[in-house]
Amino acid sequence: MTRQRFSELISAYGTDPRRWPDAERDDALDLLARTPSLQEEIDRLTALDAALDSWTNPAPLGLDATALAARISATPQPRADIRAARRFRWPAIVWPNAAGFAAAAVAGFLVGWSGLDSSLLPAPVESLDQLVVANVIEDATW
């Protein structure tokens, strides 16, 4: 626990140690006990906590737990087996598509790898310069 972390703690959680994270509370209290100057930081923020605490718990809602539970549980629940069946429907659709895609990819690779009649392909560009010159001529003709 450093002074900086202590300052972050009280800036976020306030000055009441009960609101500090469990994992850091003891270390923070130890540091506070060893470092009296930290009490000034506590004092500076204590009034805000006191002000916040003046907002007491609002009046309870007009909900009765028994009546609410009875009303809600009268609603039919979705059947778990139907929902489970729906969850397994989509893979049945996706897998054939995925298999078809994979087969097409393999076929494409084999055709390319085994060599294709080069006369069926567009004429290759011999160099990058050739391509640039062609584009310049094309642009200049507009």
Binding site: E8, S11, A12, Y13, G14, R18, R19, P21, D22, D43, R44, L45, T46, A47, L48, A50, A51, L52, S54, W55, T56, N57, P58, A59, P60, L61, G62, L63, A65, T66, L68, A69, A70, I72, S73, T75, Q77, P78, R79, A80, R83, A84
Partner: protein, 189 residues
């Protein structure tokens, strides 16, 4: 069923056990109502949100699966996240509603039920908190007023603990400014 965990009760509710669901509602209603009441600041909204959250729990029950080893905490966190999200959605909708439709929208401002029996200071604090950005307001409600742990509050807001602390720091800084006359009393003993 005095010692059953929330997960046990959810599984029983999922099998149609209405008494088990009643136990869950009894166990969590007060806390969820407090969260919804403070975040929305409006009794009507809070009641609707709590009812909606428990209805979702009932409909979720047939497919409920225990989340981690701390089953009870997991259900409470799940339910709290539903409540917080419904509160934030309600606040966003109220702000985004067109002006000409304003007559149909519930007033999002704190109503009489929150403003009564708290005294002038409490009313000022409630008003100041109501002006905070929604996630900052929710963070303050969960951590300061409901005493939730940083992990639980972060899970309900669906953010990291670091992000939660950032929300809290900004919220408290704004509140210190808004309540400067109250918040400075302690520095001048």
């Amino acid at each position: 069923m005095p010692d059953h965990s929330d997960d046990d009760l959810m599984r029983a509710a999922g099998a149609g056990d209405r008494a088990a669901f009643g136990k869950l509602v009894s166990r969590h209603l007060q806390r969820m109502a407090a969260v919804a009441g403070r975040i929305t600041g409006n009794r009507g909204d809070a009641e609707e949100i709590v009812q909606e959250a428990f209805l979702r729990a009932w409909l979720k029950a047939p497919t409920w699966r225990a989340q981690g080893t701390q089953g009870s905490a997991a259900f409470g966190t799940w339910l709290g996240r539903v409540v917080v999200n419904l509160c934030l959605d309600r606040k966003r909708r109220a702000v985004a509603a067109p002006l000409d439709a304003a007559v149909d929208v519930a007033d999002p401002a704190p109503d009489a039920f929150v403003m009564t029996a708290r005294g002038e200071t409490g009313a000022r604090v409630a008003a100041a908190i109501d002006t905070l950005p929604e996630r900052q307001r929710a963070a303050i409600v969960l951590c300061h007023y409901e005493g939730m742990s940083n992990f639980e509050a972060a899970a309900m807001l669906d953010v990291s603990v670091g992000a939660l602390e950032s929300l809290l720091v900004r919220a408290r800084k704004t509140l210190r400014g808004a309540l400067a006359d109250l918040a400075s009393e302690g520095s001048h003993p």
